[in-house]
């Protein structure tokens, strides 16, 4: 197993946000993390990426307890894409993606040809090589998100965490981004709001509710009429033709 989460508990003050969560992700798998607002998706994602420390329980990535791995060492194996990470700095697309090489270089060594090649390859992967010299501020929302993913790719990780990467994007770019992530040869965990997109692009889905895992399995197994009603409080029909991913049709009344 590439990622193992064991009995994770985390909260702020008296309030428990993530309550005893355990699951595993296999190598190369694309795992979707869904759940209503406040169900603990973002917090769980940060615990998995080592950006928050669990109150109890642990996370293993590639067989190592991440609490015992140095930040820099971890960043060479694990990348994290925030939602809508923004900056006021007037920085070029190339330099943003070069930031992804940070964990691979020591303080004073310059960028090498390898670094530049990695940056180019990463930008190529998200179809943004034409924007290399463009200032970050002039990019559209979809372009920014693609550059963030390119930066994560430049880290050459084996595991990638993405926190609602399709937020604020039009439907074309939503599908485009998720297609890129699915086709990457790495293990990824994506927090998503759109259930149909989760069904389309994820190999397996973990449903969070109130900080606990309500269901875990293939989209067909997880996205049922009853679960949608209980967890998301919506009435919906789930169409699941054989050979196709399930499709959810929400009812207005």
């Amino acid at each position: 197993m590439t990622i193992v989460a064991k009995d994770l508990v985390w909260g702020v003050r008296q309030k428990t946000i993530v309550a005893d969560v355990s699951f595993t992700v296999a190598q190369g798998e694309t795992l979707g993390l869904i759940g209503p607002n406040g169900s603990g998706k973002s917090s769980l994602l940060r615990l998995l990426a080592g950006l928050k420390q669990p109150q109890s329980g642990r996370v293993e990535i590639l067989g190592q307890d991440i609490a015992r791995v140095q930040r820099r060492e971890l960043a060479r194996q694990v990348a994290f894409v925030q939602q809508n990470a923004a900056t006021d700095t007037n920085i070029s697309v190339r330099d943003v993606v070069l930031l992804g090489r940070t964990p691979h270089r020591s303080a004073l060594s310059g960028w090498t040809e390898t670094d530049r090649a990695m940056v180019f390859a990463a930008l190529e992967r998200v179809d943004m090589t034409g924007h290399m010299a463009q200032p970050w501020q002039t990019l559209s929302g979809g372009e920014r998100q693609r550059v963030h993913i390119a930066r994560a790719l430049a880290q050459t990780p084996q595991v990638m965490f993405l926190d609602e990467p399709t937020n604020h994007l039009d439907i074309h770019h939503q599908i485009e981004i998720l297609r890129v992530v699915r086709d990457l040869k790495l293990t990824s965990v994506i927090a998503l709001h759109d259930l149909n997109l989760a069904a389309m692009f994820c190999d397996r889905i973990v449903v969070l509710d109130g900080g606990t895992v309500r269901a875990c399995g293939t989209p067909e197994a997880v996205l049922t009429h009853d679960l949608l009603r209980d967890v998301f409080r919506v009435e919906a029909d789930v169409e699941c033709a054989s050979g196709y991913r399930p499709h959810i049709r929400f009812k207005a009344n």
């Binding site: 925030q82 990470a85 920085i91 943003v96 010299a133």
Partner: protein, 346 residues
């Protein structure tokens, strides 16, 4: 867009720019040593310097030797170091606090230094310029300690740290005002005003020796962390995801800026504007990446403050304008040009 952004090979360009900057700095310092109430020729300045360094034993009037070597050269070099130090601190704080308005005094250091200095001047604790500097230094560090305490060792995020700095500044400014109003007379108030606006009068070689160590040590530490500073571009969490030990870097760099700023303020007062504007000017020249930005800011800050010091001595006859007044009056129009040229192209 910065000029350097267009060039793939940024290091070569940077070396050229830094070379030009060093020459400009040398010229500025030479001018600073030549210009004044008592004008001295550049050739004499050169000989006085080589005499002072023990390289030559040229025969020049002892008064000129003394004015150049003992008074003006040390003053110009302290100005250069103070400018470099304040500019570096500005760069660091703007990066760590992710705020374009951040400057060396945002953590309350100058307010604390003023309180310390005023306590010495007005209350007469201790005596002489050494104790004045010591008072300023102690005050500056008390303010920084308060900010560090209020922001959990500067780990609770940029806005929290800025708010803690505002609180500390308010408190120490209030203390300064209280001390001045309750026990000051007109002359003392004037002394205090002068102190607050900064002055290079009275700096000598021992000041230079201390400052050169502090500023260069600070620059080296910051350069070692330049990569990590870049990683803060998209915020603390993003930096952590890129493998940067955020809390440790923050605390070390805040400590360095407090140390450098406190040392400068305790010598020459709270010289405003340099730490705010110079980083923006340097960013305009070499782009936002810190391995280039830090040395460029140091160079621009050094030249700027030496020139400002010359201006402060020649603008008004027989009088020295407070350096803080000059930095603002020279700096604002210059800054306006940069703001205008760097405005977002819609």
């Amino acid at each position: 867009m910065s000029i350097a952004d267009h060039k793939e090979a940024g290091t070569g360009l940077l070396a050229v720019l830094l070379g030009i900057a060093m020459i400009l700095l040398a010229i500025s310092v030479a001018l600073a040593a030549a210009i004044g109430d008592y004008s001295i020729g550049i050739d004499t300045v050169f000989l006085a310097v080589t005499n002072g360094l023990g390289l030559t034993t040229a025969d020049i009037p002892p008064i000129e030797q003394s004015v150049v070597w003992d008074l003006r050269l040390s003053r110009a070099l302290v100005a250069a170091l103070a400018g470099a130090g304040l500019a570096i601190c500005g760069v660091i704080l703007q990066a760590l606090l992710r705020n374009a308005l951040a400057e060396p005094f945002v953590l309350g250091v100058s307010a604390g230094a003023s309180t310390g200095a005023v306590a010495i001047i007005v209350l007469g604790i201790g005596a002489g310029s050494l104790s004045l500097s010591m008072g300023a230094f102690v005050g500056a560090f008390s303010a920084f300690a308060m900010v560090a305490l209020l922001s959990n060792g500067a780990t609770s995020g940029p806005n929290h740290t800025i708010l803690a700095g505002v609180a500390a500044s308010q408190l120490f400014n209030a203390l300064t005002a209280y001390i001045v109003t309750t026990s000051g007379n007109a002359q003392q108030a004037r002394d205090v005003m002068f102190w607050l606006l900064g002055s290079f009068g009275g700096v000598r070689w021992p000041d230079f020796q201390l400052l050169v160590i502090v500023v260069f040590l600070g620059l080296v530490i910051c350069l070692l962390m330049a990569r990590s500073l870049d990683a803060f571009t998209f915020g603390d969490e993003d930096a952590a995801a890129l493998g940067v030990p955020v809390a440790r870097i923050r605390l070390i760099l805040f400590g360095v800026t407090a140390m450098v700023t406190a040392t400068i303020v305790s010598m020459v007062g709270a010289i405003g504007f340099v730490g705010l504007v110079v980083p923006h000017a340097a960013r305009y020249l070499v782009g936002p990446l810190h391995l280039r930005l830090l040395p460029a800011s140091a160079a621009v800050g050094a030249i700027f403050l030496v020139l400002a010091d010359i201006a402060s001595r020649v603008v008004a006859d027989q009088q020295t304008i407070p350096i803080g007044v000059v930095t603002a009056m020279v700096g604002v129009p210059f800054f306006a040009i940069i703001l205008y040229r760097a405005r977002p192209q819609q």
